[in-house]
């Protein structure tokens, strides 16, 4: 009896270890698929719409965590674990996966060629390899605009009407002048911070970012330098509240009205509503200085080892159709990547009471048409982070504005390990 028990214990231990390595639930029918998404983006609403229309389909949705955490989990899964059938990848993480496209199903084999014309070509280009494989279908883009507090603008003697406000700042230089006026009148900072609200917007408005058109790393260029310099100028004008975006101080200051302006890509609107519900109705939205641009967006991809690629593809083609994206926008507010719906009366007519009934569909789509496409490379993430961090160090008084550009280049060089 004792021997049996010992044997059983050893076997159980071994089984436990094996289960940890392998693991399979064995259940996989053609109507079930697994979907990994980020948290706080409410893919559940989409899934609910889909399963309502197809009651026989079961979608196992996992909200992995932040966009970065989702990409990390996906990396681990691709490297040798259980992969989902469908996964959401944020635009900044996508280039890393595009380096090894063999990990994913080439969606042209499932019919992506028929639908690729529905999407903005410069977005589609990000998920298309040199030899024409399509790895992901875009779900949304991050159009740019400026959110401002009408009550604080009024107190500073500035216009509050969104058309009039937009006219104040066609360029970043004029934006800085408005900020100066505001600070003079109120004695309070104007914009939440300059690294995110100026640099990350301006650098996304050019025709080149950190790579040249022939896909070579080239971050030391005029356009990036111009965006960097205008950020330093904004900082030098003393208009910044120096609150790092998404920090607890940033949230607290937003609630208290300690700054009047946030440059807010379309996906940031829902965060503002969650962070500062008490400011409901006090905000409005105007067009961004410097013209069209995009920051962010996401893609849906199917890992190569997916058990049920077909079901995942059915989901993509239905939910990411122009109509699907329009419905998602009306429900959630994330901006469609399908230009055919940009003139749809439902999109144009969509207003948001939190932002004084600003026509968010109209304003944000303006910023993503006429975009000059640039290449996104695998080092875009680290390069952008180093530029942003150096500018944050300037705001924190740790790097002098005069040395900032050289410091940034050194940091970037270290980060890309040249």
């Amino acid at each position: 009896m004792k021997r049996v028990r010992t044997t059983a214990a050893v076997i159980a231990t071994a089984a436990l270890l094996l289960a940890g390595c392998g693991g399979s639930d064995g259940k996989s029918d053609s109507k079930t698929f697994e979907f990994w998404s980020f948290a706080n983006i409410n893919q559940k609403a989409d899934v609910d719409v889909y399963t309502k229309a197809h009651p026989d389909v079961r979608v196992k949705l996992t909200e992995v965590g932040s966009t970065t955490e989702t990409a990390q989990a996906l990396t681990a899964a691709l490297a040798g674990g259980k992969v989902p059938d469908l996964v959401l990848i944020q635009a900044d993480d996508l280039p890393k996966f595009m380096q090894s496209p063999d990990n994913f199903v080439d969606l042209t084999t499932l019919g992506a060629n028929d639908i690729k014309g529905n999407y903005l070509d410069w977005v589609m280009a990000q998920s298309t390899t040199k030899d024409g494989k399509i790895i992901g279908v875009p779900t949304d883009v991050g159009g740019l605009a400026v959110a401002y507090r009408t009550d604080l603008f009024k107190a500073a003697g500035l216009p509050t009407d969104r058309e009039a406000v937009a006219k104040l700042w066609p360029t970043w230089d004029e934006f800085i002048d408005v900020g100066r006026t505001y600070v003079e009148k109120t004695g309070k900072p104007f914009v939440d911070n300059t690294p995110t609200s100026v640099f990350f917007q301006a650098v996304n408005q050019g025709s080149q970012r950190y790579y040249s058109a022939d896909r070579k790393l080239d971050y030391d260029n005029e356009q990036v330098k111009a965006a960097f310099d205008v950020t330093l100028k904004a900082f030098g004008a003393g208009i910044s509240a120096k609150q790092t975006s998404f920090s607890s101080g940033w949230t607290a200051a937003m609630k208290k009205g300690d700054y009047a302006v946030v440059c807010s890509p379309s996906w940031m609107l829902s965060q503002m509503k969650t962070n500062a519900p008490e400011t409901n109705g006090k905000w409005d939205i105007a067009t961004i200085p410097g013209g069209s641009g995009n920051w962010g967006g996401s893609f849906l991809a199917i890992p190569k080892r997916a058990k049920n690629a077909k079901a995942a593809w059915n989901y993509i083609s239905e939910m990411q159709s122009p109509k699907g994206q329009l419905d998602h926008f009306l429900l959630q507010g994330s901006l469609p990547t399908t230009p055919s719906v940009y003139t749809d009366p439902q999109l144009v007519g969509k207003t948001d009471p939190f932002f004084s009934n600003a026509p968010i569909g109209k304003i944000y789509t303006q910023s993503v048409v006429g975009i000059k496409p640039f290449y996104f490379g695998p080092q875009d993430g680290p390069v952008g982070t180093e530029f942003l961090n150096t500018l944050t160090s300037v705001e924190q008084g740790k790097v002098s504005p005069a040395n900032a550009w050289d410091t940034a280049l050194t940091n970037v060089k270290n980060a890309v390990r040249e």
């Binding site: 010992t6 044997t7 380096q99 961090n389 160090s393």
Partner: protein, 320 residues
Amino acid sequence: MTTVLGPAPVPPDVRRPVRNRRIRQGVRESLAPYAYISPFFVLFLVFGLFPLLFTFYISLFDWDPIGEHRFVGLDNFSELLHDPRFWGALRNTFSIWVLSTVPQLLLALGLAHLLNHARLRLAALFRMSVLVPYVTSVAATTIVFAQMFDRDYGMINWFLGLLGFDHIDFTASLWGSHIMIATMIAWRWTGYNTLLYLAALQAVPRELYEAAAADGANGWKQFLHISIPSLRPIIAFTVVTSTIGGLQVFTEPLLANPVGGLTCGAARQCQTVTLYLYEQSFGQFHFGYGAAVGVALFVIVVAFSGLNYLLTTRIRSERP
């Protein structure tokens, strides 16, 4: 394999030569202890030794977890030697380690002495409550502390403001962020070390204290001449464990500056070596380089543990 491992006694109805049976039983019984401790060693092999060796292996590669694995020899290590981010992380790690360990162990010593006092009322309550920070989730502790140290709306700066001082931007500055993280670590581990010291102190005969008191030694003198000397072995132990733990601090710097991503601040001012390892491996998919950082850390931890061991055994062996 499993058949020989069991200590199983043979059923009595089996008729076999007695000698043979005895030998078998002897073999079984001598193997049995190994069977019982095997789960640990199996787990250690799978989750301890294998990852360790595998880390050494991939540190010789340019290793993309989902792409190419290119052998580069010792290139990762030579690059590491010239990487200012690595040396910065090492400096931060040591600074945070000293700032957290020294005050923490001193405080724990004092607390243990107080809790060991013969006339302490509600001793059990106090002794238990020092362990509360230890059982609180690290993440929760870190988030609360990070808010307390906030530049504009944190409690500490609010207090400084009341006293007429300027606000300190703790997270942005080198020393500020180190002090902040060291505070979190000390908060978590002081109670734990206190209990270790207390347990050792309870083994010290009461008569020693009574005799000292009768000779006119005050509390401080008793602490210095009775408590400390009798605690030497356990002090050596806590110093070694705090060294190993302190050089691998990860969660606090990761969560202390959440918007700084994996760099713990814009200037990497509080990024520790483990956080740098994580940034390289899981943030940027440079697994080979991350593994090289891990190997370097391994060597440093081994060296320092050895050094600490030598120092503290010397202290331990000195007679009071």
